[in-house]
Symmetry: C2
């Protein structure tokens, strides 16, 4: 790789959540002309002020109308009131099968003195126009829905009549005028508004429209939203992933969120950071669409490139660049020649959050949709949540129903995580003036879905792939498990606090060499799970390790000062194994302490390190060499008082099923039952 | 029309809600062979038993899978667990813009003793694979999202560094190992289940799938549902309506409800009651689809025709024919050669109700969807609701928020109404063993939509088209008016009970000749609305009436014994006008007493009657002759205590707006302000 002077360094723009790229521009590109650096300067606005400026510049209203067939109108938004052109029913009709009669003829009818009516020579089936009037002393057979003939003022049910010869009936009771007859217009009156402007068409609206003969309606046109992701490192899902590449998730997720909010997404793909190509794509999107949503993931120089290209699109241009929001600070909001143009932060949770909070309301107005009404619930925050002063902060939370009400757990993952947004039930808002939320605070949680669904089983602790077949098995029986990966120690703490049913743990007690059991608190019992073989992991073919025992391999590693290890976090069972192998040595890489087997394997596979200790299946996933050391025990701390819960019982049963044992073996684990 | 002997009469099947057509078959077709009549016999089953038989015969499970692109997967149902193929992030990456460093180098850094690090000759932008290791005393510039190079165990934010010459930085604080670095797999671990079978794909699911490079997923195929309406009287929306025809609303509404429940509707249109055509259509639908939904509207003979044709389709065949449900008794449920075949009652509300109650759950299973979770609320039923013993009855209700909680008003319209289902907020269930619900009963209301939206203005009373522009005007300002057409007297009663804000009324006091004001109760005030000209209405060109005064026209009518009138209901202001004109005479048709101007005009236009009294705009709508008599006053009884409500204030303001007055004049009404 060519050397570049430091002054040329331009880093990714808009990706992180701490203002990332943009301060970088201020600080790093020291050889840029002062003006260019200045142009990039973030005037961070409070959230409400940024939103106010954007909405004032935009003045969003529906982008236009189109006519659609009723059969294709489901989910569309009605653009103008639709009046009924006809009465429904269009004529006085029979409500039952029977006979159209004159009620006066039957005024004195009784069982003792039945009245005989002569049948008229026509039968009014549905669709038949009556030709014969019902004269006194006569009746006309009529079907439900048939038009009532002249002269008749009621319909008598067939069940309440008796045949009387080939052309007559006998009636033994009187009937009121208007009985079993529905008058024209009694359901819908011509001129009445059937469906009002702004209504979202559902099957119920389709019913009344069809009944009035409406075959086509005017709806708001869906705003076309051009979606671009920018960045050399982005790869479209389905394509092979290069060594420093990541998949573009913002493009697909923004497209889906646009569709969910009434827009028609138009994807312009992931555009590399080439000024001409990027300018071309942005201009084309601006010309073809009603709105543009770009998202970061920009690399060298593209940060202020995109910014400048947006500024070129027309007045009034950028109205907010930098918003005191977390996640989401690097958000850019612009209105160019009447069309909204937005650059979302590159980090997935930041991007989704700012889209929903700041952009979706305007999109919905362009689509003629009402604001989304978010459901809210009250919940207790069980732990202190630190927050940054001066920024409105949104904290993604998972909800759990405890004995004394709902608890909202902050998802530990940051804005760079795609799962933080996806797995959260909702979020809490920490105002800009607060520096933390105290443990035990009652807070309002805005939900992502209308209802909170209480899980049948709560698992908090270490995550292992062996849990997947069990959870899938439970799902087949309709048991919803909520799994929160908080590590073994986190799981034990949650179990002590009564927050979970089961805590998966794999902790080695160095004093006794016993796994897990020594860590149980009173009120917990151990349920044995499975064993995972840990081993010395290295890149295949490395002559320092190939064919050695674990001890030999470590000795070989320690002998080479250029050999880097990757360690594990303190408290991990594997860390105890590693420290045992090292016997006090602290080689290069000892301070690199990821929290998972996968991170260890990834570091070795990518050359960040040369060896580490991880479990066999993960080494295999990464195609690494593996020298077995010892099994670790992946077990479950069960809160005894929860044993009776349906979800717990099902979990314990599933754990013993032959299919589960087979799945575990297939994953490379050894069920404890077989040890 | 040819005379048909009574024995040949065969009426509409499956249309009404009292068992309609089907008892008709037992009673009427006396010359059918006993077997044919027997075959048609309804064995009415309790709802739960009918449902149990249907579901047991069907054993519904998803109809199959297909692969769809992620971009087209929104709203689809995932058919199998989707595991992550990669770790996310795929490598250890920087969380901020800054420098990849060795934390040990900075252990003693402070403002007094800053540490100088030499910059390595590469910059890790996004997408760049590091080539140079971070050796002690060095740092590598790195962008947010960039892969952390070998040797580094932390990233330091650019803001916390100072430039130190062209190729160095100075750091004044220590940094922890792992700072601002996210480890491979920390967001998603390879092998972890990303989305579980049965999940409905939303934008959040698309995010995690895209992040793992998933471009295509396996979803349940949408079951194809063949939809046929049968009946000679049915006309497709958009086509001209014949004199005894009605528009097919069941076809479009079932299609929409199928789509809302995960199916793919396949419309076979409205099929006339021709045995060969009907057999052909049903067999084709059975061959091409996974399910068939027929709906009545059948005419002469088609009732048992459809029944026999369904029975021909294969075993086990019909499992329930007649269900003790109201609405919905004539429902037919069958399973033919593994596919569900259903004949819904013909009446729109019966059809929709039975579809949702009895059919949709199976359709959702075929589509792999979970049962729909209906929201429920508690409400008070303000009036006694009679019910039929022996049938589970569902009563459509509108909800209103009163001071002491929600009230559920039964919609007066029957199962023949298309609006009863469309306008209801939900329904209450009256068990088969109850013969009524007492006034004041607290009952559970199952909602049609997840939330009850409280109206800003409640209008109960007489309906007039003049209200439409006012309600539309309010809607523009976001004010939701709820209009319940209960007639003038009904509106006054509701106002007395505190159930509405405003009651539109048009009641003439015969004693004083004064409209409306004499009917106000204490606590109400009159708000004047508009005047509607009433007149003598007849078919244009009728020599008995053309060119006469109202009194002359009535005299002419009374002189002709073949001349039929159409009256109005007792209590209507117009009825008082009519009785005044008749002066005690009771001509033919006097007992025909519809409740609306439109029904009067429709009866005359269709020859059911020759004259009546109605308002001018309605006569014009039906192209009838009109001889003006006197204006009636359409005013509003306002509950004085409600004057301060936002909706009431807006209503009163809208009533006086020039645009409203113009709309009223255009409709043929004269605003009171102009009198």
């Amino acid at each position: 790789m060519a050397h570049r002077p430091a002054g040329e360094r331009r880093l990714c723009g808009g990706r992180d959540d701490r203002g990332g790229a943009i301060p970088a521009v201020n600080s790093l590109p020291r050889d840029l002309p002062a003006g260019a650096a200045q142009e990039q300067f973030l005037h961070v606005l409070p959230r409400d002020e940024a939103l106010r400026r954007f909405e004032a510049a935009l003045q969003a209203r529906p982008v236009g109308t189109e006519r659609v067939a009723l059969s294709g109108a489901l989910g569309r938004v009605v653009a103008s009131d639709i009046p009924a052109a006809i009465d429904v029913p269009p004529f006085d009709r029979a409500l039952v099968d029977g006979f159209a009669v004159r009620s006066a003829d039957l005024a004195d009818a009784s069982a003792a003195l039945p009245v005989r009516l002569r049948l008229n020579p026509e039968t009014i089936a549905c669709g038949v126009v009556p030709a014969v009037a019902v004269e006194p002393g006569t009746a006309t057979p009529i079907a439900t829905g048939g038009p009532v003939p002249r002269g008749a003022d009621a319909v008598i049910m067939v069940e309440t009549t008796e045949p009387a010869g080939p052309d007559g009936i006998e009636v033994r009771r009187p009937i009121s005028p208007g009985a079993f007859l529905s008058f024209a217009g009694s359901d819908i009156t011509a001129g009445e508004t059937l469906v009002r402007r702004g209504t979202i068409v559902g099957s119920r609206e389709i019913g009344v429209l069809a009944a009035c003969g409406v075959a086509e309606i005017e709806v708001w046109r869906r705003p076309r939203v051009g979606i671009l992701s920018t960045g050399d490192e982005l790869v479209a899902p389905g394509e092979p992933l290069g060594p420093a590449s990541i998949y573009d998730s913002n493009g697909p997720v923004v497209a889906a969120a646009v569709a969910e909010n009434g827009g028609e997404p138009v994807s312009y793909g992931a555009v590399p950071d080439d000024p001409d190509r990027l300018r071309g794509a942005i201009r084309r999107a601006h010309a073809e669409c009603d709105m543009i949503v770009l998202s970061g993931g920009t690399s060298k120089g593209a940060g202020d490139l995109t910014y400048r290209l947006v500024a070129e699109l027309g007045p009034p241009g950028i109205v907010a660049h930098g918003v005191a929001l977390k996640p989401g600070k690097p958000l850019l909001l612009a209105v160019c020649a009447g069309k909204p143009v937005v650059i979302l932060p590159g980090f997935p949770t930041s991007a989704m959050f700012t889209f929903h909070d700041m952009v979706a309301p305007s999109l919905r107005r362009l689509a003629g949709l009402p604001p989304r009404s978010a459901a809210k619930v009250q919940a207790t925050i069980p732990m202190r949540v630190p927050s940054e002063l001066g920024r409105t902060e949104f904290v993604m939370v998972s909800l759990l129903g405890l004995e004394d009400g709902l608890a909202a757990y902050p998802l530990g993952k940051g804005s760079g995580s795609v799962t933080a947004f996806s797995q959260a039930d909702g979020f809490i808002t920490v105002e800009a003036l607060a520096d933390a939320v105290a443990a035990g605070t009652r807070s309002e949680v805005t939900l992502f879905t209308p209802h909170v669904t209480e899980p049948d089983l709560v698992i908090m602790g270490s995550h292992c792939l062996g849990l997947e077949p069990i959870i899938s098995r439970l799902a087949e029986d309709g048991i919803r498990a909520r799994l929160m990966a908080v590590g073994s120690q986190g799981g034990l703490a949650a179990a002590r606090r009564g927050e979970c049913d089961i805590a998966p743990i794999h902790l080695l007690d160095p004093a006794t060499g016993i796994y897990n059991r020594p860590y149980l608190a009173p009120g917990m019992e151990l349920v044995e799970g499975w064993r995972r073989m840990q081993g010395f992991v290295y890149r295949r073919g490395d002559p320092r390790f190939e064919g050695r025992s674990p001890a030999e391999a470590v000795a070989s590693a320690l002998a080479d000062p250029d050999c880097h290890m990757v360690n594990r976090n303190a408290g991990a069972g594997t860390r105890i194994v590693i420290d045992g192998l090292l016997g006090g040595a602290r080689p290069e890489g000892y301070s690199n302490q990821p929290r998972s087997h996968n991170a260890v394997a990834a570091a070795i596979a990518r050359g960040r390190a040369d060896w580490g200790v991880a479990i066999g299946p993960v080494a295999e996933l990464y195609g690494l060499g593996f020298i077995p050391i010892a099994e670790e025990h992946f077990d479950f701390a069960l809160v005894s008082s929860r044993r009776g819960r349906r979800g717990v019982a099902a979990f314990l049963a599933a754990l013993e099923e032959p299919a589960t044992l087979a799945s575990l073996r297939k994953l490379g684990f050894r069920p404890a039952a077989e040890s």
